[in-house]
């Protein structure tokens, strides 16, 4: 249950970015979550909603992109998704493949609305 800490770190980053854009309203934040990143999507969504409710970011949408475990084959240089931890290269059969994705815990993007009323707390000097 470290999802509350993760949700708080996401919100900190959103607030930092929102302060750089006074007058803009943050609508959506995109997150990349890897299959073996050790973060539960549902628990994170629950925590995120709980800590944004009744704040200036109430209604902010958390958009989670699931990143599957991916390996690259050094023999044929293809990258493939690993299903059920079968890491053998499906193309050439090489067993010595290298993990290149699946442990992401990254902020991808923010969607901000520059036309509407700004996110409260972002107007004026901080």
């Amino acid at each position: 249950m470290h999802e509350l800490g993760i949700a708080t770190a996401v919100l900190d980053a959103v607030r930092t970015e929102a302060r750089r854009r006074p007058g803009a309203r943050v609508r959506r934040v995109g997150l990349r979550l890897g299959e073996v990143g050790g973060v539960d999507r549902d628990a994170l969504t629950f925590c995120f909603e709980a800590i944004t409710r009744d704040t200036e970011l109430d209604g902010l949408v958390l958009d989670i992109e699931h990143c599957p475990l991916r390996h690259r084959c050094p023999a044929c240089d293809r990258t493939f998704e690993v299903a059920r931890f079968e890491t053998q290269c499906p193309i050439c059969g090489c067993r010595d493949t290298v993990c290149v994705g699946g442990d992401e815990l990254e902020l991808a993007y923010l969607e901000v609305d520059d036309d509407g009323p700004g996110t409260p707390g972002t107007e004026g000097p901080q």
């Binding site: 249950m1 470290h2 050790g38 699946g102 991808a108 923010l110 609305d113």
Partner: protein, 227 residues
């Protein structure tokens, strides 16, 4: 509506502190190992038996994390090496800031091997870099041999799996080969050792692994920078 790319790690603040710790450890030639397991797999027992077998002149220190009590620090302090307890007060993992705070006041040359015993938890500690050179995951034969498949994150990120409590193998339906095969499905090439912290079986291999890591780390630290 504008889409602003962010492209940063969610735990970038923790990662920043961990990178500073890693640089500090490298500068002082400290090998730092982060021990992670479920509660009860035997992290503290592994450390007890390890400290018991180390030469008292060795420069080794331990940070041990728990949600409550300083029981583990008291258990580990009996061997004469510097030990500090980190009590998280509810948090289910250690983070880099806790490590940084816990190191204050220790002489920089006091140790060249630092064990961090994380809070017993196979999930949350996975996400938090503590500046360690390697994560070591401890599994025990009273758990399921499919645990590497159920908790892939930590097996994926660990450099070594220590299978503990092998003295119980005659009494439990646990197939150590299957456990290691499962771990290697998640992490091909993962090193694995089998030990009993009760009888000391397998400790020669574990101590040899530690020695090799320390030598490799010291060499890496003394190697001239490329370029």
């Amino acid at each position: 509506m504008d889409r602003v790319p962010l492209e940063q790690k969610v735990l970038s603040e923790n990662d920043r502190l961990a990178a500073a710790l890693r640089a500090r450890f490298a500068e002082r030639r400290v090998l730092c190992l982060n021990l992670i397991s479920s509660p009860g797999a035997g992290k503290t027992s592994l450390l007890e038996k390890t400290l018991e077998r180390l030469d008292p002149g060795e420069r080794v220190a331990v940070l041990t994390g728990d949600i409550q009590t300083d029981n583990d620090a008291r258990r580990l302090a009996r061997f004469g090496f510097p030990v500090r307890q980190i009590t998280t007060g509810g948090t289910c993992h250690l983070d880099a800031r806790m490590i940084e705070r816990s190191l204050t006041g220790w002489r920089p040359d006091a140790f060249d091997l630092l064990f961090i015993e994380n809070v017993g938890n196979l999930v949350c500690p996975t996400s938090y870099d503590l500046g360690e050179a390697a994560k070591v995951v401890v599994l025990s034969v009273t758990e399921g041999e499919d645990k590497p498949l159920k908790y892939p994150g930590i097996f994926h990120r660990s450099s070594l799996m220590v299978l503990n409590k092998i003295d119980l193998l005659p009494y439990v339906p646990f197939d150590p080969d299957a456990a290691e095969a499962n771990a290697r499905r998640v992490h091909p090439g993962l090193e694995a050792l089998r030990v009993s912290t009760l009888t000391g079986e397998g400790f020669d291999g574990w101590l040899a692994w530690l020695r090799a890591q320390r030598e490799r780390h010291a060499q890496a630290a003394t190697a001239p920078l490329a370029g």
